[in-house]
Symmetry: C2
Subunit: 340 residues, 2 copies
């Protein structure tokens, strides 16, 4: 599972298309095809759609690589990748591996997306486990990044240190943040708080020798407007916390929308309030963030929200292309110190 083949240099990657899994996501293939067309026509980014030809329509003028299988949203990831060698996800990862695409994008089965990328592209040298970097929007500022947002339910402190290194490289490349600050998610500020894993990781991050700009623990209540540019945690805690945030924000927006429709007075009042709220909501809308990225594999793999619309896919394609052309995988690979 280590590096397969040689990764093309960024200047070559910039000329390659983005491989898009046409079959992945709750709104596939229509919204995926639509977003791909927008990326080609409006952003002038090359795209190669990977899907089952008999299920695709409106693809005139788009490049398509045909496949015969699809890994379902709820299918066992490892088994799906093993059995379905001609699936859209596996073919996308192979296009990147073979130097025929600069990056892959999927809104499909997250576990199977990770497995496809890991098994076909391989890990960057020295990486123990890839992790998922998910943007944490900050009002009025550049997003922070949560690593790991769900790739690894079980982690060691050496893995968390690598997540910090890879997350920092990603934050720098994606958002242009110089020497991103790194915080460790815990249940108090003090280094003595948390699980043995957290305390051990705190000690490793504190020693200053791994190129990490560590600022200490951050707490759950700080995940919005995070004081750290990179928030490090295991994939179980990260996934629970991220979904708790998503759920709370969704609940609040729905609740406020419900209040607006109570009576004539609230409906009228909403006219003055709604535009401001929508502009705030757009900052937190996964449609606009460009998706999460799998860090530590030998190629760019962007994981979009399952509910992605054409707009989300268009954004994800642009982000994926720009990251590949910017050499993000080289940056991430260079950031790694071998696990202790």
């Amino acid at each position: 599972m280590t590096s397969k083949g040689r990764r093309p240099p960024p200047e070559v990657l910039a000329t390659l298309p983005v491989a898009v899994d046409a079959m992945g996501g709750d709104r596939a293939p229509e919204e995926i095809v639509g977003g791909s067309r927008d990326a080609v026509e409006k952003d002038e980014i090359q795209v190669v759609l990977v899907g089952k030809p008999d299920q695709l329509s409106d693809i005139d003028g788009l490049d398509v690589v045909a496949c015969s299988e699809v890994i379902a949203m709820d299918e066992d990831p490892a088994g799906g990748v093993r059995r379905k060698k001609d699936s859209s996800l596996v073919r996308c990862a192979e296009l990147v591996r073979d130097g025929r695409a600069c990056a892959m994008v999927s809104a499909g089965n997250t576990g199977a997306t990770m497995a496809s990328a890991l098994l076909r592209m391989g890990r960057c040298r020295g990486v123990v486990r890839p992790c998922i970097a998910t943007p944490l929007p900050r009002l009025g500022g550049k997003p922070a990044v949560l690593v790991d947002a769900g790739a690894n339910a079980e982690c060691t402190s050496a893995m968390l240190v690598q997540f910090a290194q890879m997350g920092s490289a990603f934050s720098n490349e994606r958002y242009g943040i110089e020497q991103p600050t790194v915080g460790l998610l815990s249940i108090g500020e003090e280094p003595t708080k948390g699980t043995p894993l957290v305390k051990e990781t705190h000690s490793l991050l504190s020693d200053g020798s791994r190129g990490i700009n560590f600022i200490g623990n951050v707490e759950g209540r700080e995940l919005l407007q995070s004081p750290a540019d990179v928030v490090v945690t295991d994939g179980f805690t990260g996934n629970v916390a991220l979904k708790a945030l998503e759920g709370a924000l969704r609940f609040m927006f729905d609740t406020v929308a419900g209040v607006f429709s109570i009576d004539d007075a609230t409906r009228e009042a909403s006219g003055a309030i709604l535009p401001h709220l929508l502009s705030i909501a757009s900052v937190f809308d996964p449609e606009n963030t460009g998706g999460a990225m799998l860090l530590g594999v030998n190629g760019v793999c962007v994981i979009s929200h399952g509910s992605s619309s054409s707009l989300a896919i268009r954004n994800a394609i642009r982000v994926a292309h720009d990251l590949a052309a910017g050499g993000v995988v080289d940056r991430i690979a260079e950031s790694i110190s071998p696990a202790d």
Copy 2:
């Protein structure tokens, strides 16, 4: 650390005062004294304030037990309880142990509150570790309960099963929910998702032999409007998730309040919207929930938010008294099957 002395029966507990830590909390002692006075005068509940007499004012007519020490908000809990035998927290717990109070309430150092209760009251027979039960408000319904909300960063599956049992007994006694449903916090619905601890606990909860009404895994996004009446998790994940929710709700309320004050139009519009939003916000305000409860110790210990006002303290005192008089500790003790 097991049961110390004999717990009075509920009909005797109903006649005893609630011991209130006058020195604990960001707004102590003024708001604590004020809330205690309201409980006595408006709710006709007996209270005994425990504090340093020279720091208390406006205590005419209130019962006071004098102490000479205070465990600070940021003090090491175990060390504080060990060294400060005449602290307000330790004295509160001793009043419950000695059958002179029916319950204790503190808005002070959470760790020291737990340690005082555990060391002075002792555990209920068979309980491996006490846990914190925190209400998860549900709009239009009775609150759910999160166990463990932060007492134990490290847990075993046997502990989590006991949290489910104690949480169910608490949900029934506190909210009158018959056969409360229990969910396990994880990162997907499938029993195969999560850490080894979660998977093992899922298996134990599924076997149906422990009086637990288990409905499967719940995800972070379901913590508001939880489908389960009792959500079980380890204290690290529970604390991170709870604070993530608190942070997101606080952020949203602040953000909406900010929108209201943008210009004249939004200020005027807020008049129609604000009353509705405030009534929703009140459901989620820790001031109104009555506080968290430490389950598994041999007495009622209610932990209030550090920022508690007199209203929060008054609510906590009423809840503490009613729980004690209702025999909640007996219910919790009976719910436990010895750890496997």
